[in-house]
């Protein structure tokens, strides 16, 4: 059994290990938070795109069975997320509730002048002016369709802004990724630097480079895993707190997104720590003895 003093001594020698884990955790946490923002922004942009209104006005006198058939046909299309059939009566009720008074009397007509329609919500990938123009062209050829209505300028503005924000986020993410890589690399290099004489001793007793490198790289990967796990715990806490305070976020932060984010953090931790350790050890394996002192 090693004495307490021996354990303390070993721990003191290995204290750089804990420092490295803390540093890597902080970097991964920053990246994780950015990842969360990027994924949320993506969800938000999809949410907005998928709520762009696209109305198909049906000609008067078309049988309900034909309208329902058209709705079913649309439901099978890959670009459609949801469809909603709005009858003349429902359209009238909605308009009345919007206006706050009966509009047929106001117009001086007894009969409901509104037409039935099918309201489409698109999958985000299709919610752009080019795709919508093609879809519009195809739908308008249907003999039961009177016209198609959607706000082209709104679609254009939404897509333009989403693209702009995505570019800014992408640039910022790349920059942060580079900074993270540099910080983790520096942390690991300092940690390996403190072991440079141990590496030299290992070389001189006849250990091969691969044998020397292996425990260092394994330890580096383990550091990456531990740091990633701590980061995941911290981000989980933040997500829970956010969701309990802003319930609307539950729509944007789904379990699938969290799994992707955590997988990303784990892979990043393992990759950065592993690769940095590999190169740092290689540097000291190949360094000339007198330079170890410099």
């Amino acid at each position: 059994m090693p004495s307490k003093e021996d354990t303390y001594y070993k721990n003191r020698i290995n204290s750089s290990y804990i420092t490295s884990v803390i540093s890597i955790t902080l970097v991964l946490f920053t990246l994780g938070m950015l990842g969360l923002i990027v994924l949320q922004a993506n969800s938000l942009s999809n949410y907005i795109k998928e709520n762009i209104g696209f109305e198909i006005i049906i000609k008067p006198g078309v049988k309900e069975a034909d309208i329902l058939y058209l709705q079913k046909t649309l439901d099978l299309e890959p670009f459609v997320k949801t469809t909603e059939y709005i009858t003349k009566e429902e359209a009238s009720e909605r308009l009345t509730s919007m206006l706050g008074e009966e509009f047929t009397g106001f117009l001086g007509e007894e009969e409901n002048p509104l037409l039935p329609s099918i309201d489409i919500r698109f999958n985000a990938d299709w919610a752009n002016n080019d795709s919508l123009a093609v879809i519009e062209e195809a739908i308008i050829t249907n003999e039961n369709v009177k016209e198609v209505y959607y706000q082209k300028s709104l679609v254009h503005i939404i897509n333009k802004n989403v693209r702009r924000i995505s570019l800014i986020l992408l640039g910022f993410s790349l920059l942060l990724l580079f900074i993270a890589m540099a910080l983790i690399n520096n942390t690991i290099r300092l940690s390996v630097y403190s072991k440079r004489f141990t590496i030299r001793s290992m070389k001189l007793i006849g250990a091969t480079e691969r044998f020397i490198r292996r425990p260092f790289v394994l330890k580096g990967v383990l550091q990456g895993v531990i740091s990633a796990v701590i980061t995941m715990l911290l981000i989980s806490i933040i997500i829970t707190v956010l969701k309990s305070n802003i319930p609307e976020l539950a729509v944007l932060i789904g379990p699938e997104m969290i799994i992707y984010l955590f997988a990303f953090i784990l892979l990043l931790g393992i990759f950065f720590a592993g690769v940095s350790t590999y190169f740092a050890v290689n540097k000291y394996l190949r360094m000339r003895t007198e330079r170890l002192y410099g």
Partner: protein, 228 residues
């Protein structure tokens, strides 16, 4: 008594980076010899040893150590050359984060030993050789300087090396402990191994005579059994 040539240098020039440290070095050391390498600080003793364990590249001249050609040895073959050598340093260079047994196990595993019983057996053998059998589970920082050096010598013996290269092994030790280390190195030499020891402690050379090689003014002077 010296046997077959185990270390040979012919007109070798030794450089540290681009600076010439020793030139026209001719050396022929047989197995079982005890050789002192003497000279002032900076005279090139350590550089000469570095050439022998391939820590420095031999840029000019020819050299063979334990059957390895220093001119053609590849980087990935250097560990196998070092397994035929036992290297001992002034500052011991034990792995500080593990006890004596773990230090030795690391060396044996690093050099291809697999069988646990053989590993344990060999560790006990070398500890017995240096009379440190009771230090098996002790951390290096708990050992005195003399004890650490004995452990470092035991470590160098693990792989049955043909040559022991000792760079100022008594440099950090008091005279009495140094005598103990010297007796140990001589005992190792008597068992048939070649010992090359760099030192500038002339008292030791007087007390324990051996072949002397002197590094001076960029040259190596063989002065067999004489100390000038």
């Amino acid at each position: 008594m010296s046997g077959d040539s185990i270390i040979k240098l012919n007109t070798a020039s030794i450089y540290q980076r681009n600076k010439l440290v020793l030139e026209n070095v001719d050396l022929d050391i047989g197995s079982g010899e005890f050789v002192y390498l003497i000279g002032k600080t900076g005279s090139g003793k350590s550089s000469l040893l570095q050439i022998l364990y391939a820590d420095l590249e031999l840029k000019a001249g020819e050299g063979q150590v334990c059957g390895f050609d220093l001119n053609t040895v590849k980087r990935h073959d250097i560990p196998f050359l070092r397994r035929k050598l036992g290297i001992v340093f002034q500052n011991f260079q034990l792995l500080e984060d593990r006890n004596v047994e773990e230090n030795f196990k690391f060396v044996l595993k690093a050099t291809g030993w697999k069988d646990k019983n053989e590993i344990n057996q060999r560790i006990l053998e070398v500890l017995e050789q240096v009379e440190m059998i009771d230090k098996l589970k002790v951390m290096p920082h708990r050992l005195s300087g003399g004890e650490q050096q004995r452990i470092a010598i035991a470590r160098s013996l693990l792989n049955h090396p043909e040559v022991i290269l000792a760079d100022e092994p008594t440099g950090n030790l008091d005279p009495e402990t140094s005598n103990g280390i010297m007796k140990l190195l001589l005992k190792i030499c008597e068992s048939g191994k070649t010992v090359i020891m760099a030192t500038h402690n002339y008292n030791i050379i007087h007390k324990f005579p051996g072949k002397i090689i002197k590094c001076e003014n960029g040259l190596v002077i063989n002065s067999a059994n004489k100390l000038n």
